[in-house]
C-alpha cells in the first residue's frame, strides 16, 4: 500500500485539531518515538499528536483517512514486538495525555478510564477503594489502552485470566472517524458479534480505543507466595501439571532458574533470599484471611514436597514479597543487561507440555551453541525465552535467531501451542504467525481488517 507523506498543509490541519502545544513535527519529536522496547525496528513518525479526547481522535482519523495518512497509536511504548513503531512514518497518536480515571462505579464494580491511564495508577486507585484489577503484566508503566490492545497477560492469569476477561465496554474510533460504544457495564451480553472482543488484542490495527470500562473484583486482603526450591528445572516444571490438577487455584505459578536469579541479583545489586537450588517454582495464593490462605496453600505445599521440592519458603510479609517479586519483576531487564543484544520468544503451550518444551529449549541451546535463558508463567503455559547474542557477530546472531525462532515455533505448534501468549505479534512475529496459522484464518483476519479499515491506514504492516 502506498501512503502520502505528511505535508506542511496536513500538519497545519492536524495541529488545528490538537492545538500547538500537542503537535510535534519533524525534528521536534524525540528519537524515543522511533522504537518500543524491542530492538531492531526503528522509524520516526512524521508528526506526533498528543490527543486528549475522543472527539479529537475522531477528527484526526477522518482527516487521515481522507488524505491516506498512516496512523499509529502509541501508549507508553513498552511493547516488545515493535507494534507501536510507525513503520510507514506518518501520524503517531500518543494517548498518555488521556490519563483520567473517569468513574468508579462501586455498585456495578466497574471503573471507567481513558486509555492513557497507566496500569500502576489504576491498580493503586482501585486498591485504595478496597477493589482489585487482577491483570498484572510485569511492566507497570504500560497504559491500559496498550494492555487492552495486546490483551496483556501477566502473573495472575492462572486464577484470574487476562486483560480480555476484565474489559466490559470500549469506546472506539474507527479508522474512518466514526465513534462506537461497544459492550458497556453489563455483565452478560449476547447481542450480536462481540466487536469489543475483536478489538481487544488487535494491536491498534482495527480501531483507536479512547475509553474503557473495566471489571473489578473485591480486593483479596491476604496473599502469600510460596517459593519452592527444586533439584533441577525439569523437576520444578514437572510439578506444575500436578499442581494444576490438584485444583488448588493459585493466582500465579512462575518458574525461574538460578542463572536467571543471579542475573537479577547482579542487575538490582540485591540478593535474593535463597540461591542454593538450581531452580524454583513460585506460587501465590490469595484469600479473605490468613487462615483460609494457609489452608489453601497447605495441600499444594505438601504436594510440592512429595514431588521433590527441597523445602517450601514462605513469602508472607511486604518485605519478603519485595525481596522475591522485585527480582521476578526484573528478569527481563536483567537478561537484557547480561547480553549486548537479545531477541525474545513469547510462545504459549498447553500447560501440561511446558516441562517438555523447556527441555527442548535446553537441547536447542546446546545444538545452536547459543544462550537461551528463560522464565515464565508456568501456570498458564506462557514462556519467555531469550535469544542472547553475547559474543556473536551481528550476522551470525541474526542467522541463529532465525533458525532458533523457526525451531521454537515449530515445536510449540507441535505441542498445540501458539506464537504469542501475551506480547502480541506486532511487526516482529508476523512471519511466524503467518507460518503457523491456517491460510483461511489469515484470510479471514485480512477481511476483518479491511472491514474496519478500508484504506488500511491504521498501524500498517502489523500483525498480518
Amino acid at each position: 500500500m502506498s501512503f502520502s507523506v505528511v505535508t506542511r498543509e496536513n500538519m497545519e490541519a492536524l495541529r488545528a485539531i490538537v492545538g500547538q502545544e500537542n503537535c510535534l513535527w519533524g525534528e521536534e519529536i524525540s528519537p524515543d518515538y522511533a522504537h518500543d522496547e524491542l530492538g531492531g525496528v526503528e522509524r520516526m513518525p512524521d508528526i506526533l499528536l498528543r490527543v486528549h479526547s475522543t472527539e479529537e481522535v475522531s477528527r484526526i482519523m477522518a482527516y487521515a483517512d481522507t488524505h491516506r495518512l498512516p496512523v499509529v497509536v502509541r501508549g507508553s511504548g513498552t511493547g516488545l514486538v515493535g507494534a507501536a513503531v510507525a513503520l510507514e512514518g506518518g501520524v503517531m497518536l500518543e494517548t498518555t495525555g488521556m490519563n483520567r480515571i473517569l468513574e468508579l462505579d462501586e455498585e456495578n464494580l466497574t471503573v471507567t478510564v481513558q486509555p492513557g491511564v497507566l496500569l500502576m495508577e489504576l491498580s493503586e486507585f482501585v486498591q485504595s477503594h478496597g477493589l482489585f484489577y487482577p491483570p498484572d503484566p510485569g511492566e507497570k508503566s504500560a497504559t491500559i489502552g496498550g494492555n487492552i490492545s495486546t490483551n496483556a497477560g501477566g502473573m495472575r492469569a492462572v486464577k484470574y485470566g487476562v486483560t480480555r476477561d476484565y474489559v466490559r465496554g470500549l469506546t472506539v474510533v474507527l479508522p474512518t472517524g466514526e465513534v462506537l460504544e461497544l459492550g458497556g457495564k453489563v455483565v452478560k451480553n449476547s447481542s450480536g458479534y462481540s466487536l469489543k472482543d475483536v478489538i481487544i488484542g488487535s494491536e491498534g490495527t482495527l480501531a483507536v480505543i479512547t475509553q474503557a470500562t473495566l471489571r473489578l473484583l473485591p480486593l483479596p486482603p491476604v496473599s502469600v507466595s510460596l517459593l519452592a526450591p527444586f533439584d533441577s528445572l525439569d523437576a520444578a516444571l514437572d510439578a506444575v501439571p500436578a499442581i494444576v490438577r490438584s485444583k488448588a487455584a493459585p493466582t500465579a505459578i512462575e518458574y525461574m532458574s538460578r542463572d536467571v536469579i543471579l542475573m537479577a541479583e547482579e542487575y538490582l545489586g540485591k540478593k535474593f533470599p535463597d540461591t542454593t537450588a538450581p531452580a524454583y517454582a513460585l506460587l501465590t495464593f490469595d484469600g479473605p484471611d490468613l487462615s483460609q490462605v494457609e489452608q489453601a496453600y497447605a495441600g499444594t505445599a505438601d504436594l510440592c514436597l512429595e514431588l521433590g521440592a527441597r523445602d517450601i519458603y514462605l513469602v508472607d510479609t511486604d518485605e519478603r514479597k519485595k525481596s522475591v517479586w522485585d527480582a521476578r519483576g526484573a528478569f527481563l531487564e536483567a537478561i537484557k543487561a547480561s547480553s549486548v543484544e537479545m531477541d525474545e520468544c513469547d510462545v504459549v503451550v498447553p500447560r501440561s507440555r511446558i516441562a517438555d518444551y523447556i527441555k527442548f529449549t535446553h537441547a536447542l541451546a546446546k545444538e545452536l551453541d547459543m544462550r537461551l535463558p528463560s522464565f515464565g508463567h508456568a501456570g498458564d503455559g506462557n514462556l519467555h525465552i531469550y535469544l542472547c547474542r553475547d559474543g556473536m557477530g551481528r550476522e551470525t546472531f541474526e542467522e541463529k535467531c532465525r533458525l532458533a525462532f523457526e525451531r521454537l515455533y515449530a515445536e510449540a505448534a507441535r505441542c498445540g501451542g501458539r506464537v504469542s501468549g501475551e506480547h502480541g505479534i506486532g511487526w516482529a512475529k508476523k512471519e511466524y504467525l503467518a507460518a503457523h496459522s491456517a491460510p483461511e484464518e489469515l484470510a479471514l483476519m485480512g477481511r476483518i481488517k479491511a472491514a474496519f479499515d478500508p484504506n488500511g491506514i491504521l498501524n500498517p504492516g502489523k500483525v498480518i
Partner: protein
C-alpha cells in the same frame, strides 16, 4: 556460640491509624508481623550460629499472640524461643522493656552474644538494646553491619557512625544492634514450621525472674508515661543545612537557641 536474638511483634502495616478521639492506636483487625528490622538480626544470628556450630534462640516480650513471631523465628532456623508475657508488664516504656528483657536474659543460662534489631517500626526509639545491655552490665554497639568472632572470646564488629565506619573489637558476651539491609533475611521454611516441637516456644512471667518486685515493671516501672498519641501535623516546609557534621550541629544549635527551643 550461644546466640540470642530479641524480636518484637509489630503491626503488619506501616500505616497504623491513630483514633483521633481516644488517641489510641487502632490495632483491631490489623495483622501483626515480626519487626522487619529484626529480620536482619535473625539472619546474622543464624549465619553466626551455623559458622560457629552454635545455636540461635529468640526472646520476645509481648502479649500471648506474640508467640507467633517466635514460631516464625524458629521456622527461619532458630532452635527455640522464649516469650515473656505477663499482664503486670503492660504499659512498659523503653526503660522497663529493657529491664524486663535483661531479667529474662538472666534466666536463659549461658549466652555469648545478644542481637537486636536497629529499631522497631512502631515504637521506633532504637533504645531497647542499649538499655538492656546497661542493665546486664554488658558492652554494646549500635548500627552494626558485620560481626566476626575471633574464636578467642572477642568479636570484630563494623559500626556505621554515619560520618565514618568504626571497626571495634568487643569482648563476649556483648549486645549488638544490627543495622538494616546488611543481608537478605532467609524466608521461613514450611518444612521447619511443620516439624517444630510443640514446646519450642516457652512462655515465662515475672515469677521466673530474679527480681520479682512488680513495681519495677510495666506502667509503674516506667518513668515515661504516654499521655496522648496523635498523628503529627503534616508539614512539608523544610530547611536544609549543609556542611560537615560539626558545622551543621553548630548551626542547628544556633537556630534552636535563636528560636528559644533550647
Amino acid at each position: 556460640m550461644e546466640i540470642l536474638v530479641c524480636v518484637k511483634q509489630v503491626p503488619g502495616t506501616t500505616e497504623v491509624e491513630v483514633d483521633p478521639v481516644t488517641g489510641v492506636l487502632k490495632r483491631d483487625g490489623v495483622a501483626s508481623k515480626m519487626n522487619p528490622y529484626d529480620l536482619y538480626a535473625v539472619e546474622l544470628g543464624l549465619r553466626l550460629a551455623e559458622a560457629t556450630g552454635g545455636r540461635l534462640r529468640a526472646l520476645s516480650m509481648g502479649p500471648p499472640q506474640a508467640k507467633a513471631v517466635l514460631l516464625e523465628t524458629a521456622a527461619m532456623g532458630a532452635e527455640s524461643g522464649v516469650l515473656v508475657s505477663d499482664r503486670r508488664l503492660g504499659g512498659a516504656d523503653v526503660l522497663a522493656t529493657g529491664y524486663t528483657l535483661s531479667q529474662a536474659v538472666r534466666t536463659l543460662g549461658k549466652v555469648d552474644l545478644i542481637l537486636c534489631g536497629k529499631q522497631t517500626t512502631d515504637g521506633d526509639t532504637a533504645q531497647v538494646g542499649a538499655e538492656m545491655a546497661e542493665f546486664l552490665g554488658l558492652p554494646h554497639a549500635n548500627n552494626v553491619q558485620s560481626v566476626e568472632p575471633d574464636g578467642e572470646g572477642y568479636v570484630k564488629v563494623r559500626i556505621d557512625l554515619d560520618s565514618h565506619i568504626s571497626v571495634q573489637r568487643l569482648p563476649l558476651p556483648c549486645v549488638l544492634c544490627i543495622d538494616s539491609e546488611v543481608n537478605t533475611p532467609r524466608l521461613p521454611s514450611y518444612r521447619r514450621k511443620k516439624s517444630l516441637p510443640p514446646d519450642c516456644v516457652k512462655t515465662i512471667s515475672l515469677d521466673d525472674f530474679g527480681d520479682r518486685e512488680p513495681a519495677h515493671y510495666g506502667l509503674t516501672g516506667s518513668p515515661t508515661q504516654v499521655e496522648r498519641i496523635f498523628p503529627p501535623e503534616k508539614n512539608s516546609e523544610k530547611e536544609m543545612l549543609h556542611g560537615s557534621g560539626e558545622d551543621m550541629a553548630k548551626e542547628l544549635a544556633a537556630i534552636l537557641r535563636c528560636r528559644k527551643l533550647i
